[in-house]
Symmetry: C2
Subunit: 148 residues, 2 copies
């Protein structure tokens, strides 16, 4: 017996499916480099600015400190980053890229690869319509007045 | 020291943030009813058609069978659904709503509530542009030719 359940016209569901598919594309791109998407997010921050505090990385990645700390443990074992104590404040550490972490900086282009697939048949004009609409939805979701 | 890391113009990141925010809005709506979003997804399928196979629910919810089975355990304990063996195939079970599960069917409107927040300042015309663009991105992500 085959049953098909029709989908609701739910924006939340559509966004969830899109996010899931975009993550899968990103993971597929990164797999040959043995880097997870979560690791790439941290690396992408450090490629922009080496030496960041754990709290800056937590804010950037949207992760809680405990989860980020476990992720940084794995990245340190993998030889991608090092923790360095802050001079004058021994309880604080900054995160630095290792040479291996720096050498992967060409992977910053991953998001352009994913954008390219998602938007492959979108005209420049359509892309210029779409991004601001998504930004407006995000502002609405987070309870901020739209800037327009 | 306050550091701010600027964001990349990544569609994947934007979709992830949007999906995350939409899920948070849904969970907030459902919390007073003691229903999780994952439970609501299963209930929404059954409100449309009571009595579905586990495999139909797995496809609808995008969950693997093992994860869905644990979810159904919790929903059964909570008195929302029951498992009923299929006549003539004792290894198969169908999922039915209980009276309590049926009585929550007004919560089907949750996705309209979330749509309403996300799209609060969108004109009808803008909404009619946006949904098909998101559907096209999903097709692109899943490797299907756009229908247009």
């Amino acid at each position: 017996m085959t049953e098909t359940v029709s989908y609701l016209p739910s924006m939340g569901r559509l966004l969830y499916s899109l996010s899931d598919s975009a993550c899968a594309l990103a993971e597929e791109f990164l797999r040959p480099h043995d880097i997870s998407l979560a690791q790439w997010v941290v690396l992408s921050a450090l490629w922009g600015q080496d030496c960041l505090s754990v709290s800056a990385l937590a804010e950037y990645s949207g992760k809680k400190t405990a989860a980020l700390s476990r992720l940084l443990d794995r990245m340190e074992s993998r030889g991608l980053v090092t923790r360095v104590s802050v001079v004058g404040d021994k309880r604080s550490v900054n995160i630095h890229l290792t040479k291996e972490g720096q050498e992967l900086s060409h992977l910053i282009g991953m998001y352009k690869h994913v954008n390219g697939i998602l938007l492959s048949d979108f005209s420049e004009e359509e892309q210029q319509q779409l991004f601001p609409m998504l930004e407006r939805m995000l502002k609405n979701a987070n309870g901020l007045a739209a800037s327009s």
